[in-house]
Subunit: 341 residues, 2 copies
């Protein structure tokens, strides 16, 4: 802060080159002789030059910023996704400006404006506040992850396949009645497909089943109440049957597993449980819980692949104005653990 910043002008003066040549040293070094490259390199060292990407952005329009809007980082799924997105820096070079948004449309719009003011080149959206139609109207490359995505690109887990895998595993482990509990989802969110996967598998294999769509609570405490009640009902209703429970996430699976352990000191033989997400709790539960794992690294990489392609397209002198949204699907991985023995 003390002495003024070293700029290309200073280096130009010092080396008796022009600013342009200094710029070339950074952007197209091969166009300089090796000697001259060395001279400039030495000068940078001698003057302790620090690059200024803000000036570069203003001049060439490429910020290499990608904006991320994510509901929170408190839930493991979201932080795991962000973790993987951030680590794509080494491969793609984009820097990430991250905002968390609770359920508030106006806030989300405000944050998007802020991101646009910083000239982000693309955006990754995990929140559910704005429709994909509105998002598409911003006219910048956008990838949605696990949310409604009609009008924008997206990367999702193959939720249908996940539902099939979970249901089949329960069936194979000896379940006589298959039960899937889920929130009453909108058919537009990708995870709705898990329900289809469950239903179709039961139908195809001719398995008795029950589908319970209900409010699963908005906090851990609420969810505990909900699932304790449901478990009691199920216990009553299917007393003499082996019950196969497919839960929409590992947290819910864990609530049920804990309840059974607290009661019986073990997982009774007439209960089989499968969760979803392969979150830490599924490994750290009192006995390891079977679950359907999302390939979060692939999801993140695919999202960046889509973005970087479209960003490159925008940098062409004559970018195509409209590209159809693409929708990629990543296969989940079934993890057979102790709760489906």
């Amino acid at each position: 802060m003390n002495k003024k910043n070293i700029t290309f002008s200073d280096i130009a003066e010092y080396t008796h080159f022009s600013k342009t040549t200094i710029s070339r040293y950074f952007n197209n070094p091969d166009s300089l002789t090796l000697e001259n490259q060395q001279i400039i390199a030495d000068a940078l060292e001698a003057l302790d030059y620090k690059e200024n990407k803000v000036a570069r952005i203003l001049a060439n329009g490429k910020t290499e910023f990608i904006g991320i809007i994510i509901p929170n980082l408190y839930m493991h799924y979201y932080s795991a996704i962000l973790d993987q997105i951030l680590s794509t820096y080494e491969k793609y070079g984009y820097k990430f400006l991250v905002f968390t948004v609770k359920d508030n449309e106006e806030t989300e719009r405000k944050y998007i404006q802020e991101l646009l003011a910083y000239k982000i080149e693309g955006m990754i959206i995990l929140s559910h506040n704005l429709t994909s139609k509105e998002l598409a109207s911003y006219n910048i490359p956008i990838v949605a992850i696990e949310r409604e995505d009609k009008h924008i690109c997206s990367v999702n887990t193959d939720n249908y396949m996940g539902g099939v895998q979970a249901t089949s595993l329960l069936a194979k482990s000896g379940a006589e009645i298959l039960i899937h509990i889920n929130a009453d989802l909108s058919p537009e969110v990708p995870s709705y497909e898990r329900i289809h996967g469950f239903l179709n598998t039961c139908a195809e294999q001719n398995l008795p089943y029950e589908l319970i769509l209900t409010d699963t609570g908005h906090s851990y405490e609420e969810s505990i109440d909900v699932f304790y009640r449901l478990l009691d009902e199920i216990d009553q209703k299917y007393k003499d049957k082996v019950k196969g429970l497919f839960l929409p996430n590992d947290t819910f699976a864990n609530i049920i597993l804990n309840r059974l352990f607290q009661r019986y000191g073990k997982l009774p033989d007439d209960y089989k449980i499968v969760g979803f997400d392969d979150s830490p709790i599924s490994r750290e539960s009192v006995i390891p819980t079977s679950t359907v794992g999302q390939q979060i690294d692939k999801i993140a990489d695919t999202a960046l692949q889509i973005l970087s392609e479209r960003i490159k397209e925008n940098h062409k002198r004559k970018p195509r104005t409209f590209l159809e949204p693409v929708h990629k699907v990543i296969t989940p991985i079934l993890l057979k653990r102790e709760t489906t023995k």
Copy 2:
């Protein structure tokens, strides 16, 4: 991208004001008459103006960027901290550029250079790769969170107090032998103080204790091996005593709790357990685990308070060149749950 961006020049032309006046409309509206404010407001609307903060930064030097270097977002503690840091946007207005760095000095230096190139105004560091001395040499405001912090500002949990709270709770719950297991930490990291808190409490209250400092493993699987072995040893050694176990985090506490549950179908009366962090696993464990909670919201807010003060100082025409590092300490909160009944 199609038609060129609307700039102050366009608005100036449209309204017959100068660029300067348009700038004033944004930065010092009171210096314009209400009429003229309205005229400009209408023009912005009519022309669909989008602000460009990159240009503004280049002109006034204020990016409002803060860089964050964090080991990962996979561990809940880190993502919880980042979550709270991001939500300070509403209060302080800073935007965050986030990098994750594994154990690699060179990578961290590279990322810091990148952050500096984007003219960040401050930095929050949670990683352990570089010494605080080296970090201080970058000459920008930096706050460390739970890491070595001799030469830079920091915000930490009062780890000593945490150790005292945990140990006292175990004592009160009837433990006859107090055991603290921890990694063989450097005395420079803040969490080392937990050990002091444990030892001093045992000494003051004249309690029998054992301090086990050992390699706790570098993965969940490794940790399981370590703690199963330790538990067997403890079980042998203190057969007829009520054992009070103070673990350095909730994950480790959970490993022990699960092992006991798997063996006995419940937490035996001669085991009392306290973890650290109030991470989700402490609530979601087979029975809720007592733990010491860090006030992560306060930690994040305090970090930003320190940064924003120092950044403001830097914006003064004559900033003080050197400010002593400040070290803030946030009191932890003891959570008494089922494992210390």
